[in-house]
Point group: C2
């Protein structure tokens, strides 16, 4: 709807056509263990069942589903990676079960309905890439009424953090601006053109890049200075595109550290594999991308800078209202806006601070 | 013709919409000096004339044309950068002369024909980006029969070089492949899937990336081990798209150094500002991107690796046949194929070596 397919391919799908990128995901042990255990510790969901893998990539989830006993697995992939998935299924002796279909999920036709939809659709901060739309579309068209979603639930989290990233980015930004001013001087001196009229636009461009774009980061648990809060819960069996198109929440996060300098928020997600209500998982599996010393994922966390930082103490609370919506230019990217108010333990509230951040 | 505009924007134009990228070009002193001198040392070509700037970007060439006395300058730019060009013209007091038109050159209509077309259309190794197509289109539609092209001529050069880049890339490639083999072992051990079926494809993907893609490099003059040769000459006043769609040449390059290890070829270009035959430049200006210790440009040189390297001595000759054509998937990228034969001073010819390289 309104999305140019060719442009979407150039901006989005193209990277998935590289084995290099697929390998990055296949090397993420936290991700791999979660899906592996979700499948093999819940074989009753797969044995003799019909499975649909939305966005099969290298084919890994489809092959596992077959190994766990599926009668048939439809493995749909939009990019040329489909050919590799087909090869891999064959080399692993499951090509009688796994049928790889090259095409976009929205457009392919399956010969039958399915019992399970499995998919690894999560982007940075869960919803970047908007791939869950395709899973919803697949579910509404192809999942049997009593079918199960793998994963079945997803949540988005935020927490206040301390971080040196903000100061570093301000330094980078200021260095850029200094260079710009030199450039303006030199261009005037050597080439007789005054570029100063563009200074404002140059600043805006670089403010956006350095200070208003969220950053990938592997946050250390000890950077978290307040209790994390859930800002979105998704039931994969019932969610609609309307429900995920934007995320709005108001949350309160108690500060858990004295003399904390809150210079950013971290955002992450988790998903759960619980099967369905009629047919629950025997072993519920969680995949979390929360800050962790030992179990980092390729998703890391997204960091949203706060300018200026807020000074807070144990007993204070941060009251945040958070809005995320899709970028008008590219529905797979996100615009975030949040407002923070510090409520001190005395009950006094500091004036709210608002930030706009792009997830690019 | 067969090019999806939205895709072309996503792949190509989008970067030019950033001031950051325009600034990079505006900071290239060799480039700037050449165009500046071409205009201001040939004011007779601009005074009271009508000028068209194809792809005005920040507007710099249009503003110079106005400052040199043009009666009217049409400054066409496909991206939103057009707005900044308009501001800049205004801030420099030439907005009565410079008319910025936002649109693609192929689609805009001018109210009159022009005396001069000025444009900075050169990509890596001259033709990457295929932007000269747009200049040809502008010329055929809008240049008066006695008009002049700025620049008026262009040439492509190649030379045999010695370089550590090839060894480095082979190391990178081999490290990647070792990692892949570990990955295959681990995936089998932990997750019961044998990925070996993809090893060949992974190798091909990485061979392309590390060994078969040309590299930007700032070649030092002392790396050049043979006499450079021209493989293409373009007369900007008469060239057709058919003439530049592919480049084919057979050249002989004498080796000028003993015990030279030819591990790559460097490719670069130069352009000249000579005006037209009826109306020649008073001061002919050259812009060269040849290897130079002191006058590097943002174009650098493109390096095409040769595997395995060729050992040669002074008096030997390299006979090269060279073909460059456009990539089928993206007409702005290039596929290069070359065959080299070493003719030793004795007259003996070694067996030819062929390489395919992508300019991405
Ligand atoms: N609408 C759609 N139709 C088909 N494939 C899609 C799609 N949207 C995304 N994809 C594909 O979904 C994959 C997501 S990455 C996950 C790959 C694989 N399932 C794994 O877990 O390792 C990518 O390969 C992408 O090309
Ligand atoms: N067909 C076309 N129509 C309009 N603009 C084009 C074009 N092809 C390329 N361009 C623009 O041409 C510019 C080339 S870069 C050169 C910018 C400027 N003339 C300078 O010398 O600094 C880019 O801004 C690009 O967006």
């Amino acid at each position: 709807a309104g999305v140019d397919k060719g442009v979407d391919f150039a901006n989005y799908f193209c990277t998935y056509a590289y084995l290099y990128h697929q390998k990055e995901m296949l090397c993420d042990r936290v991700r791999m263990d979660a899906y592996y255990n979700a499948v093999f510790r819940n074989k009753h969901h797969f044995r003799n069942k019909v499975v649909l893998d939305v966005g099969t990539g290298s084919g890994i989830l489809a092959i596992w589903s077959a190994q766990a006993g599926a009668r048939k697995v439809y493995a749909v992939e939009a990019t040329k990676m489909a050919e590799h998935a087909r090869e891999l299924a064959k080399a692993n002796g499951v090509d009688d079960v796994v049928e790889v279909i090259e095409g976009s999920m929205e457009e392919v036709t399956l010969p039958e309905k399915v019992d399970v939809i499995i998919s690894e659709w999560m982007g940075y901060f869960l919803l970047r890439e908007s791939m869950f739309d395709s899973v919803i579309c697949a579910r509404d068209r192809w999942l049997r009424p009593d079918g199960a979603m793998y994963p079945s639930h997803a949540r988005m989290w935020v927490a206040p953090i301390r971080s040196g990233l903000g100061d570093q980015k301000i330094d980078d930004f200021e260095r850029e601006m200094n260079e710009w001013h030199n450039f303006v001087d030199e261009t005037e001196a050597h080439y007789g053109v005054n570029m100063n009229a563009l200074t404002k636009a140059y600043r805006a461009e670089h403010e956006k890049y350095y200070l208003k774009t969220s950053m990938w980061s592997n946050v250390h648990p000890n950077q978290i200075v307040g209790t994390a809060a859930v800002i979105k819960e998704i039931d994969c069996l019932t969610a609609t595109v309307d429900e995920i198109r934007s995320v709005m929440a108001q949350v309160t996060m108690p500060i858990i550290m004295d003399r904390a300098r809150v210079s950013a928020f971290a955002g992450w997600f988790d998903v759960h594999f619980r099967g369905s209500t009629q047919n629950p998982a025997m072993h519920e599996i969680e995949l979390t991308t929360a800050p962790s010393e030992d179990f980092g994922t390729h998703w890391g966390q997204q960091v949203f800078l706060l300018h200026p930082p807020i000074r807070a103490n144990e007993g204070d609370k941060i009251i945040m209202s958070f809005t995320m919506s899709r970028s008008k230019e590219n529905h797979r990217l996100m615009n975030v806006e949040f407002t923070c108010e510090l409520e001190q333990s005395s009950g006094k509230r500091l004036s709210p601070v608002t930030s706009k951040v792009f997830i690019e």
